[in-house]
Amino acid sequence: MRHVYECSVRFDDLDAFGHVNNVTFAEYLQEARVDFAHRYLAYGQRPHEGAVVVHQTIDYLAPVPFRSEPLQVSVWVTRIGTSSFDLAYEVADEKTVFARASGTLVSFDGGAEQPRPLTPQDRAVLERFTEVPA
């Protein structure tokens, strides 16, 4: 199962080339990830604890010019470790995939500044959203 986040493009997201700037795609991924965590994961209710991004790869496939219709940013799980998990993302509309991305997150104790094992509850949620890469 994938979580789909409807993401609006703001005029300010465009750069001098007239398309959404590369950095802004990472913001879109973050919005989708945070929306997913906030809806489903216990840690997402506590934004000062949460999880940290330790690795991310983004492949830019097509430029996004300004548009009024939102983009669909889908996010799903590809690996679950002890404290970490991998997410995959797609930024798309009905016709075009604009970017694909993947990232590793580590569940993190903000107070101790230490990684923390995933709780059984969060692990169960992540399993529901897991799609093993082909």
Partner: protein, 149 residues
Amino acid sequence: MPRHVTHVPLRWADMDALGHVNNVVYLRYLQEARVDMLFVHAPLHGAEELIEGVVVARHEIGYRAPLHFRAGSVRVETWVSTIGTASFTLGYEVLDVDDDVRTVYAVASSVLVPYDLEDARPRRVSDRERRVLAEFLEADGPMPGRTAV
């Protein structure tokens, strides 16, 4: 070969609710460093097209240590790891250097594609661009590898 060095100022709002510089902001630091490198060096070889028409095809970034706000800037070192026919790859380190001790916050790489904006299609790396990039070639620099926990 030398690396291009850019000092990027930190803004207080670069930090997120976890109290460290947000992961997205690092990509902005990389962009500042990349643009700085190209704007300084491309005109020296008459390769202005390197400023006007290059798009990012891929980013990979490994976050190594949290970066907290302090007055001043963070150092970004940029180099060229490969030069292909129609693309090139930059490497970056985001770090502090203090008494020769290097504290690395992130290692990253970007695949860049020279792009003809009028025709909306990729183009080849020109000889002039190649000369600019060759000055910073470092084929065996650090890579943003993944660390699983």
